[in-house]
Symmetry: C2
Subunit: 159 residues, 2 copies
DNA sequence: CACTCTATCTGCACATGATGCGAACACGCA
DNA sequence: TGCGTGTTCGCATCATGTGCAGATAGAGTG
């Protein structure tokens, strides 16, 4: 997504208002690579602006998503996750702590697929499920932390 | 998943009981390519066995999934979908009617991926989003129907 | 066939994520 | 400063799932 300043301009130009709540969310989302849930953003926002409504967070996320400034994903862990990275990329999800990281798949657009007859495709999502380095070291880790990745790359197709 | 008869034997051999409810669900799921939700199965089951509990449907689906007889997927449409096809395959989802179809992706296991450092991957899901033939013809179709696909194949990578 | 043990079924309460609605509020322009 | 309309907020509501406990009924045994 664009910077908070650019978004503010874009909102005003579209006749939308730039409220403190929206500005706060712009800042919290900009360059945010943690793929936060609405609830996580609400928690962060509440620290800087006690009293902000969860409803407003949802509303703003929905608006930004429909404006194309955010992408939303559901990895089956109960809550929708939002990603300000709207470029072409895919994801890897830790099945232990549910941390999400961006991955880049070469030739993802050139896959040879059987069974698409009749469908007009406009988006392809590839999601890798596995265990992150931290959870591999601490089997029962549950608290996601910011970016941190290290060794032992591995890939496979198990379904 | 295996046939109702095979599942019944397998259940008994494992000390699990073969109840009419389970047998009904075995039948409803066998060779079922519609990727039903728990609620959809409950609706089907209720017709043949009025009084069956939604709780029992959920329980049985969970059991079959943990036994490896079913795969479960969440495509972000609100409800988990179940698939008796436990072989290696992927999916295409209609963004209009939410119909789900199986697709087969060549070389899905050989993708060249950047960003997996630190992760140990055990499963890769590829989901194509688009519009099915029926919804292309009838823009506002909302009622999923059994299998039916035809022309105009198209693929892309838009995110 | 009756008996018994125990897995299962069922109904309801509850948890969580998300949305609809209406009144009060405040951004942005004149 | 004043006004109009888009926003915010809080609460009710919906939907998918899960936890719990008593009633029920497989399935092996005598």
């Amino acid at each position: 997504m664009r910077s908070p300043a650019e978004l503010s301009s874009a909102f005003r130009e579209s006749g939308l208002k730039v409220t403190p709540q929206r500005q706060l969310l712009f800042r919290l989302l900009h360059d945010n690579a943690t793929h936060p849930t609405a609830d996580a953003l609400y928690a962060s926002a509440s620290q800087q602006m006690p009293g902000i409504s969860l409803r407003t967070v949802y509303q703003t996320l929905t608006d930004l998503t429909s404006m194309g400034e955010l992408q939303s994903f559901d990895f089956g862990n109960g809550a929708t996750r939002f990603d300000p990275n709207v470029g072409s990329h895919h994801h890897v999800v830790c099945r232990s702590c549910h941390e999400v990281a961006d991955v880049y798949v070469d030739a993802a657009a050139d896959l040879d697929v059987a069974g698409l007859e009749g469908f007009t495709i406009d988006r392809s999502d590839i999601v890798f499920h596995g265990v992150c380095a931290r959870c591999s070291a601490t089997p029962h880790a549950t608290t996601p932390q910011p970016t941190s990745q290290t060794n032992s790359p591995t890939t496979g197709d198990m379904p």
